[in-house]
């Protein structure tokens, strides 16, 4: 098999020494992690390597020799380097030598057991050590989905990335250390660290403890029995604001927990939640500062009552139109008047309640708008709830109309079956034939005729109120969509993809460098970053709302039959 040597580009100008790294025998690849310089004592080298092996769980060994000679190659030096191979217990001894400033290195492999040169081809692959170490390789989604078995040999490149990532301990010694081992790797010029990051780490511990205490207090209050009384808990479950607040509370608990993130997806999740919360609160504060300026709350409160009045007047006009001859259709006068007056009375009640509340609206709004400091999502949820409360009468009308229409449709269907001499068998869930008595048939036919001729009136009322309800549902749906977007967008991952694209990799790409005959093939391995779509798909934060599972066809069927539609169901809510 072709021998592949992965060489870090930071070691290209290192002084002569021996190569330290990991040998993957199944792929015949040697991953060089560092260059150990002369002079060294073999016993100490072996001791150091076994220590590193224990710490990193990666079997690191001496792979070969590296010569960086500024003058002509000497014959005795090559013999010395070959003899070095006998000191270390590795099957294959790789010798790489660079002359002067030449780009083209000569590379040879010596098989120790039979002491002969291998005649096969050698490929030299350069890689950027720091980037490969920090990078997280994402397998393609269809492989990740079916990764029960065979995941180990699914990707050979993942093994190389793993090797470099796990060898962090090896990169901790730099050239200013006083020990007997002198290494060259990407951090050999000095370990990098940031004062700000260290200070933040120190400050985060007491901050987390304080926040944990506050959070436990808040959740104790939430869980207390006071809030569990029936009317209150019914309200909390209906208001989307409480849903959103609970969701954010959960997020906070995830961030301030003391356990360190085990693996990369957990770390990304924590970071995404943190950035999303930060953005949310920042946007909320922006909104607050805009609202509280120039008495905008007062203006809003002043326009709210007239808008409510206007909506009620429009509804009243609509009902008057329905009670007359809408669109030229002829309604059944008695039923029309009954339904119309019933709905008009409801609107009258609603207007009275709104007018009762009108002196307090401004104060209520002022205090409610304070909660926008908890986040823009909370403000949007409050807006959605206010819309729901203001259009509650439309919801009531829709339910009345739908129930009436539904009863009528089911009655018609069952009486139609009676017409044809059939019956619905509840036990067998099918239509069976049945012989009816004469008086049963007579009453059934009468009722059928009555229901049939009253159908247009009921259907029209149902249609009008369903359309109104759908309008309100669409507006609320758009607000919830926006809230979901802010909740689930992985902003930290997107920023990382934008600024440090080597951290999120979909794969690698190879570039063929200049070649020279007789020298090994030179390739440059670069990281192929993940596309933005895959970043969003992989790191999306889970949200609490599930989108309607009904297809359009079943939605139309429900509308036709008069069944009540609930466009979105929150997870854990019971179906009506």
């Amino acid at each position: 098999m072709v021998l592949k040597v992965f060489f870090p580009s930071c070691c290209s100008s290192a002084d002569s020494g021996i190569l330290i790294g990991h040998w993957i025998s199944q792929q015949s690849s040697a991953v060089v992690l560092a260059v150990l310089h002369f002079p060294f004592i073999p016993v100490q080298v072996r001791k150091y390597l076994s220590e590193v092996q224990r710490a990193t769980q990666v079997s690191i060994s001496v792979l070969g020799s590296w010569t960086n000679s500024k003058q002509e190659k000497e014959e005795s030096l090559s013999q010395f380097l070959e003899d070095l191979g006998t000191l270390f217990s590795h099957e294959l001894w790789i010798q790489i030598s660079k002359e002067g400033d030449s780009k083209f290195w000569s590379c040879s492999a010596l098989q120790k057991c039979c002491s002969q040169r291998k005649e096969e081809e050698i490929i030299l692959v350069y890689y950027e050590q720091r980037q490969v170490m920090l990078c997280h390789l994402h397998p393609p989604l269809h492989i990740a989905a079916s990764a029960e078995q065979g995941a180990a040999d699914a990707s050979k490149l993942a093994a190389i990335f793993d090797t470099v990532a796990k060898s962090k301990v090896l990169f901790m010694t730099d050239r200013y250390d006083e020990g007997p081992i002198k290494l060259t790797h990407w951090q050999s010029d000095g370990v990098e660290a940031s004062i700000i990051v260290e200070l933040l780490k120190q400050a985060s511990v007491p901050a987390c403890m304080l926040l944990t205490f506050l959070l436990s207090l808040v959740s104790w209050i939430c869980r207390s029995r006071v809030l569990k009384f029936w009317p209150l808990c019914f309200f909390w479950s209906k208001l989307s604001t409480c849903e959103q607040l609970g969701h954010r509370l959960q997020h906070l608990q995830v961030i301030i927990s003391n356990k360190k993130a085990q693996n990369q997806p957990q770390l990304m999740r924590k970071a995404n939640i943190f950035v999303s919360l930060l953005l949310d609160v920042a946007l909320g504060l922006l909104l607050m500062s805009w609202l509280y300026r120039k008495n905008r709350i007062g203006h809003l409160a002043d326009t709210l009552i007239p808008v409510g009045d206007h909506v009620a007047e429009e509804l009243q006009e609509l009902l008057q139109w329905l009670m007359g001859a809408p669109a030229g259709l002829k309604m059944n006068r008695a039923l029309d008047q009954v339904l119309g007056r019933f709905f008009l009375y409801h609107i009258h009640l609603w207007i009275s309640y709104i007018h009762l509340l009108s002196p307090f609206i401004e104060m209520i709004l002022w205090y409610v708008a304070l909660s926008a400091c908890l986040g823009l999502t909370v403000a949007l949820c409050i807006l959605s709830d206010i819309i729901a409360l203001l259009t509650f009468h439309i919801y009531c009308f829709y339910v009345y109309g739908a129930r009436l229409y539904c009863l009528k449709i089911y009655g018609l269907a069952s009486l139609w079956r009676l017409f044809r001499g059939k019956k619905w068998n509840v036990l067998r869930q099918r239509v069976d034939s049945c012989s009816y008595d004469l008086d049963q048939l007579f009453i059934g036919t009468l009722l059928f005729t009555i229901l049939l001729f009253l159908l247009p009136t009921t259907a029209l009322y149902y249609l009008v109120f369903t359309l109104l309800r759908l309008l309100v549902v669409i507006v609320q749906g758009l607000l919830h969509l926006l809230v979901d977007l802010i909740n689930s967008l992985p902003l930290y991952s997107l920023l990382l993809r934008l600024c440090r694209s080597y951290r999120l990799a979909a794969g690698v790409k190879f570039r063929v460098l200049e070649q020279q005959d007789g020298k090994p093939l030179r390739l440059l391995m670069q990281i192929n970053p993940l596309s933005y779509g895959s970043v969003v798909q992989t790191y999306r934060l889970p949200t609490y709302s599930c989108y309607p599972k009904d297809s359009w066809a079943s939605l139309c069927k429900k509308l036709f039959l008069g069944e009540l539609i609930y466009p979105w169901k929150h997870k854990g809510e019971k179906q009506d």
């Binding site: 098999m1 072709v2 592949k4 025998s25 199944q26 015949s28 099957e91 081809e121 490929i123 692959v125 269809h142 492989i143 079916s146 078995q149 065979g150 040999d153 699914a154 990707s155 050979k156 490149l157 794969g507 690698v508 790409k509 190879f510 063929v512 070649q515 090994p520 093939l521 390739l523 192929n528």
Partner: protein, 187 residues
């Protein structure tokens, strides 16, 4: 390195360039026909004439600026996302196959498939619009089933070379793949 002229499935002239970097590494690049100035000016003038007609009807100068903006944005989107300049295949025996598409704006989109996932490279037939064309594709190995194929990756989709060019590509790929098959790990 050699370059030969062929034709694509729709009759446009394309060029195939072969480079042998080493015994087990070969690069095959197919260059698509460039963007014609003729078609570009034809589309631009049609759009601008239509916009001018709308302006004459509505007397709103926003129509003209909107037309210019749309033309510019459309051109940028076309060059960056649609117009492929060159498609290349880099076959490195024992490492894998790399498929690159370079767009007219300079963007390059690369996919690397490891050799262990590659089952074979074959020429397939497909129904495209109203024609039946040949195309080169990579068959990916199904990890669970040694005889199965998990995915088919079509190559050279924008340039769509004809069968004579595809046969050259197929022969070049198979030479490298066979080296890998007949020379497994000896140790």
């Amino acid at each position: 390195m050699e370059e030969r002229q062929y034709r694509s499935a729709s009759g446009a002239p394309i060029a195939l360039r072969r480079r042998q970097h080493s015994a087990s590494c070969r690069e095959l690049a197919v260059r698509c026909p460039r963007l014609q100035l003729r078609s570009l000016s034809a589309v631009t003038s049609t759009v601008w004439l239509a916009a001018y007609g709308l302006f004459a009807l509505s007397e709103n100068s926003m129509v003209l600026s909107a037309a210019i903006f749309i033309t510019l944005v459309g051109l940028i989107i076309y060059l960056h996302f649609v117009k492929v300049d060159q498609e290349s295949l880099l076959v490195i025996g024992s490492l894998g196959i790399q498929v690159t598409s370079s767009y007219a704006s300079g963007k390059e989109s690369t996919t690397f498939i490891e050799m262990s996932q590659v089952k074979d490279v074959v020429i397939n037939e497909a129904i495209h619009m109203q024609k039946v064309i040949y195309y080169l594709c990579i068959l990916l190995q199904d990890p669970g089933d040694p005889q199965g194929v998990s995915e088919v990756v079509p190559l050279f989709q924008s340039s769509k070379p004809r069968l004579d060019c595809l046969i050259e590509l197929y022969k070049s790929c198979q030479e490298i793949l066979e080296q890998g098959r007949t020379d497994p790990q000896v140790e």
